[in-house]
Point group: C2
Chain length 335, copies 2
DNA sequence: GTAGGATATGTTGACGTCAACACAGGAGGT
DNA sequence: ACCTCCTGTGTTGACGTCAACATATCCTAC
């Protein structure tokens, strides 16, 4: 009579635990959910029974009963950018530490933002984080029946919480750093239109120039990729001595373009990036850049969202500071 | 009598659809699950009713009844490496296109591999993809009650399907390319011990050298990061003229170290990387590297795993080819 | 004409959980 | 002595779905 002839073992349910502990299923449920209305001795007995049987609550059953899945969604356009990947990791870790699963939905795969929302709804997520998706806000708007945390976007977010890095402030710091080094003005290699982060960094650059009463050069534009940074930097004015790129990867492309044009960095041109991705310290030369705290951003986003879900906390709007990291790609302007 | 005084609307269930279509709930279930035993006219009537009410099946209820969650897990040590991020995106998209949600579990956050498995079990995933996690295989082994797809790892995978890139073959191609350019030998900047990909790339390098009867220099070692590549390359032998780095990011660090030492690339030293990350074309000089097809890898991994789950297909072991991408960082050895 | 089979649909109950309610017993107040 | 309130626990039923079984028609074959 081989054991494996028997039908597949049923999973351990509350009823099994209840039987072993000599209590009702409801009491087991109360213990599982940390209800205060349980006698300490009973609680202990139930805990022992749970451990003995290896009981784990059944998420699906719980979700069916309560309507809550303990799952969060993350909506993002692409993970090709290093910044988005870093955010994802931070969010995944933060969600896991609170007992939430994380479902990743990329807009590119979903088709458009509305499809992405449909996918999230399909997964019955309790809430979602919308990452750097300005288009989602314009095209069709945000659903208001799903708790959302809108990260790095602006506009009509309705009742939802928002959170973003102080892109403009970071950009301002970068520009002031370059101006203090004696550069007559600072050129800007901007990110794509439609991106909140790109727009804010551009604004910070513009305002810092205006504040210093310095002329504002024509904006160059890329799409966050190194290749686009390279292409844009080829058109950089011949007399430019300072360049602020909207992210590190575009700065990388710009560094190559400048080298090919025999314009030494930092000898002839100073370059600043944004993000402080891990590789930036090993660019040639090591890149001066604006550091974003991705981990804090992810942590904060999940924290606020979960609190909103669990306690119906009111909408919040947070801003995270940046830090200028000075490396070898910037130096005083030649006189 | 304001509408919003009414209790929150119950979600649309099969019973609602059944009532509207004038059939039983079971028939609605059959239509929802594409059962063939439904009259075409009835099917159409049910479809119309579903559309009219905006019916969506309730995943939790379905999971409770069937024991299947339509969720896959992805276990990965870190998303800091660009390669892992690319894989994640590919896997996420492939899973979504098959109607599966993807839950990301990072081992670093979980503590160790066994905790990560516990987390996956907690989420009741139908199966999981283990990405580049050699340690998971050694420390405690793999569970055999959960369908797994082991990507880029070796060893005792038990009954599970495996899939990996032909790292050794790609490395061999890189080495032969350098030898054909006339270099006396090729130094290797290897990845961390414990990584299957690193070990395989190192093996490919070693075997290609042996095949050409060329002396094998001491291996340098890093941990995939550009910083580690920089540090390791500082110790590169003074007479080295060719370097094969185990990934592009370490190659980036090496390029900086060589530049600081005034050793021109490719004039004095030729360098090859591995992965062909998007930025590699904008390194200085643009990097010759071995391209991995991340998208195909993700697609294939999900495909095999899902087929295993849904049809109990037997274990499979696939290998994906690589392609050498020649750019400006390699040239014939000086005579 | 009737048995037998195929096809289309309906009925019942259970998956595991927890909210709502019920109830027993003890503490405290009058 | 009685009523009230609080604490700890049990009972019941429903969340939405689908497998198993039951039933109703219709077709074909002899």
């Amino acid at each position: 009579m081989a054991l494996d002839d028997l039908p597949a073992v049923r999973r351990v349910s509350m009823a099994d635990v209840a039987r072993l502990a000599g209590v009702s299923g409801q009491t087991v449920s109360r213990v599982a959910n940390d209800s205060p209305r349980v006698d300490p001795a009973t609680r202990e007995r139930v805990r022992v029974a749970m451990a003995e049987l290896g009981y784990r609550p059944h998420r699906a059953a719980r979700a069916l009963r309560t309507g809550r899945t303990h799952t969060l969604g993350l909506m993002v356009s692409t993970l090709a950018s290093v910044g988005n990947s870093r955010m994802l990791q931070a969010v995944a870790d933060a969600a896991a530490s609170r007992g939430y699963a994380l479902v990743v939905v990329t807009v590119s795969a979903a088709g458009d933002a509305q499809d992405a929302f449909a996918q999230l709804r399909d997964q019955e997520v309790d809430g979602a984080i919308i990452l750097n998706e300005a288009t989602a806000l314009t095209a069709g708007g945000l659903p208001d029946d799903l708790p959302l945390m809108v990260v790095d976007a602006s506009g009509a977010v309705g009742p939802h919480a928002t959170l973003h890095t102080d892109h403009a402030g970071g950009a301002g710091a970068a520009v002031r750093h370059l101006l203090e080094l004696g550069h007559a003005t600072v050129h800007h290699l901007a990110g794509p239109l439609g991106s909140f982060a790109a727009a804010e960094r551009e604004r910070g650059w513009r305002e810092a120039l205006a504040e210093a009463s310095v002329p504002e050069p024509t904006v160059l534009r890329g799409d966050w990729t190194a290749a686009s940074g390279h292409a844009a930097a080829m058109t950089l004015a011949a007399d430019a001595t300072a360049l602020f790129a909207a992210n590190d990867q575009m700065a990388l492309g710009a560094l190559r373009a400048l080298a090919d044009a025999h314009r030494d960095v930092p000898g002839a041109v100073s370059v600043v990036g944004f993000d402080d991705i891990a590789d930036a310290a090993d660019f040639r030369p090591p890149l001066t850049t604006v550091r974003q705290d991705f981990d804090a951003l992810g942590e904060r986003a999940v924290d606020t969202l979960v609190r909103g879900i669990e306690t119906g906390a009111p909408r919040a709007a947070d801003v995270l500071e940046t830090a200028l990291v000075i490396r070898a790609s910037t130096r005083p302007a030649a006189r």
